[in-house]
């Protein structure tokens, strides 16, 4: 049994079968990549996993518990964090404040009224936030306005915010899309570092094969809403069906 078990999940949008009979099992502390052509249903699958969409059929179990029908913040509290295709951070706040929010969430739960205390005097939170910023090499950006950073740094901050919650499952939707080569390599290094230092399961959607083959232990190829093959990176590279459905198309 993997930590994440997706069984027979189907989702229609009007006449379009975005997902059909998706089965997926992700082993604990592994890195599992989902690849596939545009419109294959990868983001839709992720939306189902985090409760943004409810599937028409099938079940999604995380650590033996169903996540279907729960609200996003509840699912997050179970230990699932998500990085979005375009970085979702608190643009109006400073980097440190961005980092403090997941720390508060982790310590205090979904709602707690601390209306009189000074947030900068919550030493445990500030230290915790600073420690994670140091972990991801962003200590020097502590006072920066989050919205004014480069796309790569925003992504790094978003990942760091997810890490602060110590999630057991980290979902990444095209974390390097639209990034310059150097930023992409930095992100790969960061994710490798996270994998080696923590007990964490990673599910990554990615178009960039360099990223996929540097990180993933297993790969699922999704095409037109259903898994085509699932295998190790070595086998996927040579798989004729995959070349036809995906790699071939990308090369053409």
């Amino acid at each position: 049994m993997g930590i994440l078990e997706v069984k027979d999940v189907g989702k229609r949008f009007g006449g379009l079968q975005a997902l059909g009979d998706v089965n997926l099992s992700v082993a604990e502390n592994s890195c599992h990549a989902i690849i596939g052509p545009n419109g294959a249903g990868k983001s839709t699958l992720l939306n189902v996993l985090v409760g943004k969409l409810t599937p028409d059929t099938g079940s999604v179990m995380f650590d033996g518990q169903s996540v279907l029908g729960l609200s996003a913040h509840k699912i997050n509290q179970m230990g699932i964090s998500r990085v979005f295709q375009t970085p979702e951070i608190f643009g109006a706040l400073s980097v440190l404040e961005n980092m403090m929010i997941p720390c508060f969430a982790k310590r205090d739960g979904s709602f707690r009224m601390h209306a009189i205390e000074n947030m900068m005097r919550e030493k445990d939170i500030v230290d915790w936030a600073d420690r994670i910023l140091a972990d991801v090499n962003m200590a020097d950006k502590r006072h920066m306005h989050a919205a004014s950073m480069s796309r790569g740094d925003k992504r790094r901050l978003e990942i760091a915010m997810c890490l602060a919650q110590e999630p057991r499952l980290l979902l990444l939707d095209e974390p390097t899309a639209g990034m310059a080569r150097a930023d992409t390599n930095n992100t790969i290094d960061l994710l490798k570092q996270i994998k080696s230092e923590r007990d964490i399961t990673i599910v990554i959607i990615e178009h960039d094969m360099h990223v996929v083959f540097s990180l993933a232990e297993r790969i699922t190829v999704l095409a037109q809403g259903s898994p085509l093959v699932e295998d190790t990176p070595e086998n996927i590279k040579g798989h004729p069906k995959v070349r036809e459905a995906y790699l071939g198309e990308a090369a053409a």
Partner: protein, 398 residues
């Protein structure tokens, strides 16, 4: 100091100083001088500055921090006034029970209205709050006449129970015998300053209200409210539920509004339905935006600014204008007065509208941003470097 960092404490001191010395600071021109009409240091107007300041400070906790724009906060203002007058009718003219009731009742109203309105965001939220306020207005105006005395407005009659009233109790609003209407006067050369009890009560309440708002801004709760404004998706995917945070902010700002409404009735023992009308809700929006939404001092500045101009501009009439421009040749004098005429007296709303447009277009951060720009001009000397610092700084501006 007082649990504030140095900058916030300084700001608090400035507001305290201004509030305490307003009767002097706002009367810079000697009585009878040509400029005396620009004096604002009389009790009635100063009370309005401070009461609307409190209203706007509270409104800013909701709008400035979370970005939820309520168009119905006047409802709580009215609720506060009715509560205070009812306590006059039932107990006596001591304002304390009334103010307490005003805060409690407006909190309950805000909880109800907020609970329903906050199921939507953006324009739908604004419309819902507006609808609730208009419903409250018509309830107060006609349906609930036994409680609100309808069109006439609620006031104290000699037939009212006033069970705590004794022969010694003052027969106008007071705080344990300190009568709100009483003033002491200071004459100094050509100047005359009025120190009014009611004004000082309001000023002390303003200081407390402002202090609490600084604490809220700097608290983890305040951080969450700013996070709600910045990105609700991320907040959700950080395991936080925005709804209780926004509801708490809504209730707090409703309580501020109720307190402000209560103080209005504490200064003048009347309450009428017109206090709940949408124009009053709109006015506090203008004040907050004009001063600088999301800044600490902005709402106070905005409230003072609007109330000052409302008074001064609406008092200027054609004969005053003629006396100002008497030095011009006759035809030109008439022409100038003719051009200015629509902007004064009853037309002062036109002036306010123009000022508002100018501020929103050129100073989206309100008067506070204007002040910061001026301060930056003076600090320009060490050049370049400061610019980077200011853009990297993210304290919500003072």
């Amino acid at each position: 100091m007082l649990g504030l960092n140095r900058k916030d404490f300084l700001l608090f001191l400035v507001v305290t100083f201004l509030a305490l010395f307003a009767p002097i600071l706002l009367n810079p021109f000697p009585v009878g001088s040509a400029m005396a009409q620009f004096n604002a240091g009389y009790p009635d107007l100063m009370q309005r500055f401070v009461i609307f300041g409190i209203f706007a400070i509270g409104f800013n906790i909701l709008f400035g921090l979370t970005g939820y724009l309520s168009f119905g906060h006047a409802a709580f203002l009215g609720v506060g006034s009715y509560s205070v007058v009812w306590m006059y009718k039932l107990l006596d003219y001591n304002i304390l029970p009334g103010l307490f009731l005003a805060i409690v009742v407006s909190a309950v109203f805000a909880l109800l209205i907020g609970f329903i309105s906050l199921r939507r965001s953006g324009i739908y939220f604004s419309i819902l709050t507006l609808a609730f306020a208009q419903m409250s207005f018509s309830l107060a105006y006609s349906v609930l006449t036994p409680i609100t005395n309808g069109e006439t407005g609620l006031q104290v009659y000699t037939s009212d129970p006033q069970i705590l009233m004794s022969g010694f109790s003052p027969s106008s609003p007071h705080l344990f015998g300190l009568v709100m209407n009483d003033s002491s006067y200071l004459k100094f050369g050509g100047w005359e300053f009025t120190f009014n009890n009611g004004y000082y009560l309001c000023a002390v309440v303003l200081m407390v209200a402002f202090y609490l708002s600084i604490r809220i801004f700097r608290s983890p709760f305040g951080l969450m409210l700013r996070a709600v404004k910045s990105n609700q998706t991320r907040l959700n995917y950080t395991g936080l539920n925005p709804r209780p945070y926004t509801l708490a902010a809504f209730v707090i700002s409703g309580m501020y509004a109720g307190l402000a409404g209560g103080l209005m009735a504490a200064m003048d023992p009347l309450a009428g339905a017109e206090r709940m009308q949408w124009t009053a809700s709109g006015e506090v929006v203008l004040m907050t935006i004009l001063g600088g939404a999301g800044t600490l001092i902005g709402p106070i500045l905005g409230a003072g600014f609007i109330k000052y101009f409302e008074n001064i501009f609406s008092k200027i009439n054609d004969s005053i204008l003629h006396s100002w421009f008497a030095f011009l040749p006759d035809g030109l004098e008439d022409a100038v007065v003719f051009i200015i005429h629509p902007f004064i007296g009853k037309g002062w709303h036109l002036t306010l509208g123009i000022l508002f447009v100018l501020v929103v277009v050129f100073l989206p951060g309100g008067l506070v941003e204007g002040g910061q720009r001026i301060a930056r001009l003076f600090r320009r000397k060490p050049a370049d470097k400061t610019d980077n610092d200011t853009s990297a700084k993210t304290d919500p501006a003072e």
